[in-house]
Symmetry: C2
Subunit: 367 residues, 2 copies
């Protein structure tokens, strides 16, 4: 049977990988695993996989590998992160609805313990898959990239990631989302002259100066870009603004942080050129960039996957770890249960139907 | 002689009230007295005034009163605060220039230990003034109003402030600045819909929405308002802006803090009506208001003062404690050495010439 109803049990909850998928997801949600605290959920997953004779386990910190070694011509990675953003009164999980209409609510249900549940069920079910499989459960995805477990393995032991194709179980409404968009952050700085606000004409107001930038961003229409048949929708937005130091001082500095989400046809230089073109006339500093990943759906293994799971692929707007595989030369797609727009939401949830759709598609493809 | 060159001496520096005014100001600057730490400078002032037989001293916390009791028909208050904004590497004081061209640089030189030095010199010099005098040296002027020493006395022991006229030694370029402007703070709030910035079209950007407000403020021309012959120049400015919670989230909230400095012809209701008219269409909340003070220069005692010190009066733009006297029905003006636009500046300073101008004018008027 699945774990007890709450993750508060002192001993390790048992995970039933061959029973009801909804129960499995509930059990995973109930083991709190906010980034940095993935040890217990990884222990529980390791304990559940340990008895499966067709899988070779290897643990490196809180990254857990489970591999078949069948000598197949191809190897596929199925990867998912075990950490979540902080709890918001949404653990333990709550199940609503009946039968295939059930929905699991709780932290991580969408991002991405639903995907982890599917991968665990597939790992247990496929004792002799048509392709060799590497399951990877990793830590620290929801925080800065330096801590990301997959990033660490790519840096220190990239051979562990070797594969012809990778499927990341990030929420994608149980459909194939190819590639991912890149993300760039820039700061636009306005400077003025400080003065006491009782004599404002002695100063020059840096906050007022930001008005034209906000108007330009507000009026900007982002591009839709087709890459390998998928249409990516970009976005250029102010995500933060701050200016002013006191209620009686004319601000001499205002900083607007801008986030550009760009299609995977652009490299970092092209993305920067676009930002500088749209924001010409402003003082722009690029502070951070992570390029996206092309869908890679022209490769036979990927086309085969898309055909097996339903024949259609969609663009992925958010940046995900598929870009890490892409940078290692491994085509990768997102395919997982749950609506990505619910990721990180306090009311995140995952429909049981999505769990079944994803599991059945993977079994069809790899069985 | 004046105090030692630094305020670090373990014993109380002696203040020489009858010697060189520049030395006296240097000694006062060198006794650090950031708001909340006025005890030592007040002790030093009390010790310097104690030997003067014509003055009756009374201390209440760090508010010090020194009164003549000559039975004159009128009583004049000369008041100054002893605290400063935080030190910024500008203590001990530095004197540049020679003779009457000397300038004292250092924290509080302008705001307002120059005024305190003048008042101390006048207190020592006028053993039989033409009007009874109440000198007040008070604490906590540079911080929130509830802590203000003068405010506390007005609340608890208003009889100590009784007078026909008050002169506040705040920096005014050694000329009479009548009344003071009022100040109102308002918050303009923009709300939107949060979304992951990779799917920005699912949200509505509250920071972008602030653009039209900033443009309106930027294009706004503030009024010049004549009150009792003095022309006050108003100001309406964004003094702070903040919005956004993370680099990957479309902001659902942006708050702009606006400061309105208004002429003393307006009460709080009129000031609010003006702000709401200029900012019509925006979500405005008034958060704070302190009305100004009319110049009161039509009263005979005030007219007499203006004539004695040079015959011309100017408007005071900044809010000062003259408004506290005004609210007690006591006409009050600002008259002190130093340029008010240097108040709180790290390079604040006070010219020796201003010290002499103010001292001599007060002696002429009250001698």
């Amino acid at each position: 049977m699945a774990a007890p109803a709450t993750g508060a049990a002192p001993d390790l909850p048992a995970l039933d990988l061959t029973g009801d998928l909804t129960d499995l997801l509930v059990a995973l949600v109930d083991i709190e695993s906010v980034s940095g605290d993935e040890g217990r959920v990884t222990d529980a997953i390791e304990a559940a996989l340990r008895p499966l004779a067709h899988l070779e386990l290897e643990r490196d910190g809180d990254v857990l590998f489970a591999r078949t070694q069948l000598g197949r011509a191809e190897r596929v990675v199925l990867a998912g992160h075990t950490d979540t953003v902080p709890i918001a009164g949404n653990v333990p999980a709550v199940v609503t609805g009946e039968g295939d209409e059930r929905v699991v609510h709780g932290r991580g249900a969408c991002d991405m313990k639903g995907g982890v549940a599917v991968q665990l069920a597939v790992a247990a079910a496929l004792t002799a898959p048509s392709r060799d499989l590497t399951f990877i459960f990793y830590d620290h995805e929801e925080v800065e990239a330096e801590l990301n477990g997959l990033n660490r393995i790519a840096r220190e032991r990239p051979e562990l990631l070797e594969a012809t194709f990778a499927v990341l179980g990030e929420p994608s409404n149980a459909r194939v989302e190819g590639g991912c968009q890149g993300t760039m952050r820039a700061e636009v700085t306005f400077t003025g002259v400080a003065a006491h606000s009782a004599r404002s004409w002695m100063g020059r107001n840096a906050v007022h100066a930001a008005g034209p930038l906000l108007e330009r961003l507000s009026g900007h229409t982002s591009a839709e870009v087709e890459v390998e048949g998928l249409v990516y929708r970009e976005g250029l937005n102010a995500v933060r603004i701050s200016g002013g130091i006191a209620g009686n001082v004319i601000p001499d500095r205002c900083v607007v942080e801008v986030n550009y989400r760009f299609a995977p046809d652009k490299d970092a230089a092209a993305a920067e050129a676009y930002v500088r073109e749209v924001l010409h006339g402003f003082d722009v500093t690029i502070t951070d960039v992570a390029v996206g990943a092309r869908p890679g759906l022209d490769r036979p293994v990927a086309a085969d996957f898309v055909a097996a799971v339903g024949g259609e692929a969609w663009p992925k707007f958010g940046w995900t770890d598929v870009a890490r595989f892409s940078s290692l030369g491994i085509p990768a797609v997102n395919f997982g249960p749950g609506n990505p727009s619910k990721a990180h939401a306090d009311d995140e949830f995952c429909p049981t139907a999505d769990l079944h759709t994803c599991r059945d598609a993977l079994l069809r493809w790899l069985g």
